[in-house]
Assembly symmetry: D2
Homo-oligomer: 144 residues x 4
Amino acid sequence: MKSEFKFHDVLRVRFADTDLQGIVFNGNYLTYYDNAWTEYFRAMGLTYGFLLESGVDTVLARTSIEFKSVARFDDLLEVYARISSMGRTSLIFDFEIYPKDEDRLISKAISVYVCVDPKTLGKIEVPEWLRGQISEFEEREFRN
Amino acid sequence: MKSEFKFHDVLRVRFADTDLQGIVFNGNYLTYYDNAWTEYFRAMGLTYGFLLESGVDTVLARTSIEFKSVARFDDLLEVYARISSMGRTSLIFDFEIYPKDEDRLISKAISVYVCVDPKTLGKIEVPEWLRGQISEFEEREFRN
Amino acid sequence: MKSEFKFHDVLRVRFADTDLQGIVFNGNYLTYYDNAWTEYFRAMGLTYGFLLESGVDTVLARTSIEFKSVARFDDLLEVYARISSMGRTSLIFDFEIYPKDEDRLISKAISVYVCVDPKTLGKIEVPEWLRGQISEFEEREFRN
Amino acid sequence: MKSEFKFHDVLRVRFADTDLQGIVFNGNYLTYYDNAWTEYFRAMGLTYGFLLESGVDTVLARTSIEFKSVARFDDLLEVYARISSMGRTSLIFDFEIYPKDEDRLISKAISVYVCVDPKTLGKIEVPEWLRGQISEFEEREFRN
């Protein structure tokens, strides 16, 4: 439900995102969710470049995606994103996609990102300062 | 586990499949699984073109993907695929990806495909003849 | 040169657009140019959907692309587009890409698009009304 | 003309390579040409990994592509590749794509690759040993 989210990004479906069925190819939803990750952190003042310099990157460990209705070329989509929980080393994102200004759910996903060292891609703990900024942005506490 | 599968396809990672982390971008695994879908049906004598002419296409309804280790440019990958169950209108695929001739699991997925009419993309039942051919290929019975 | 263009679009480089060299994969520039095609026509009031309904689509027949400097993830790019000449059945686009608010040329291209019937993809003449609207938008006459 | 080439690679069009026109999206031809680059060097015993370790990578500086006929999902394509000339720092590739066992030209391209240092992406000269191996493979001399 849109109301659960404090953040959403807007993107337009590219021609190259479609396939011969005339709809967005399913793999491209992971690109849309990935974009929303970036814009979510930008919205709290953390660019990807800044995160890397601070010694934090993430890799996707698990995702569950539902495809509820189709998106087509040139559609404007709203991609909602929020961090719904955190582990010691992981950030769990909830995502939902709707057509702009409509309530028809196109796709939703739950994705587990693991924090890694940008140089080695080895697992690291969620830094305290990041945990703090996310809590502030989401206006709630998170437990491990 | 590889031994659960009667089928696998081999593919080589394209340069364009990688991202700035130097590994295969997560969205491209859905492309790999999609390819395995095609090759799985080809292995039982059903090309995509034949399926369409027979009035059957599928759309991906849900997928859960785990990313266990990385794949890199130029890697040869084995993508294992099998239909593990069927609903009235759906085919459930299990997928696993390994480096060629290695036992290191790279990614696994469970994907629910819904059968649709190729022209309208509206939901249809799994045709009896297809149900039969899959049972024969997998050497087992399926219940709805 | 930017001053030759009446139109430009702004886009942000997606993570999935990059490759293991850490830069935008060359094939994705064709996606960027394709997007600029769409936005160029939208800027003159012609959405892709409207063009299709009016019986006009295009396919890319030829393109020459130069890659002058690199673009990276999260860069904001300005993609300049104009129709520089027209044939009986073709529209010739000039494109240039710069980082937002910079004069460093990243890539330029000349692309020949042939007008086709959206249903058959068979070649058709550039419709007179389209020729007129482009002339008006570009504030100049075009000869065949 | 196929007879001009000593090398070709075979690839199958992926579902994700198509677009809503039902044909291979134009940007994906650069992926196909890029793959042929890799396989061309592999055919002379030089994997991409070996090239990097030897201090040589390339970036695409310029390409001219013609799109002559369409390719569709599941088509088997033959991608012909040869180095047709060399500069001090550049390798010029000719590419042609045909459906497997057919003479209908789908696309052709001339692409200028500049040799670069894999670490800095700064321009370097074509190493003498590489120049020699290419001459041997193409069974001809090259002048700068």
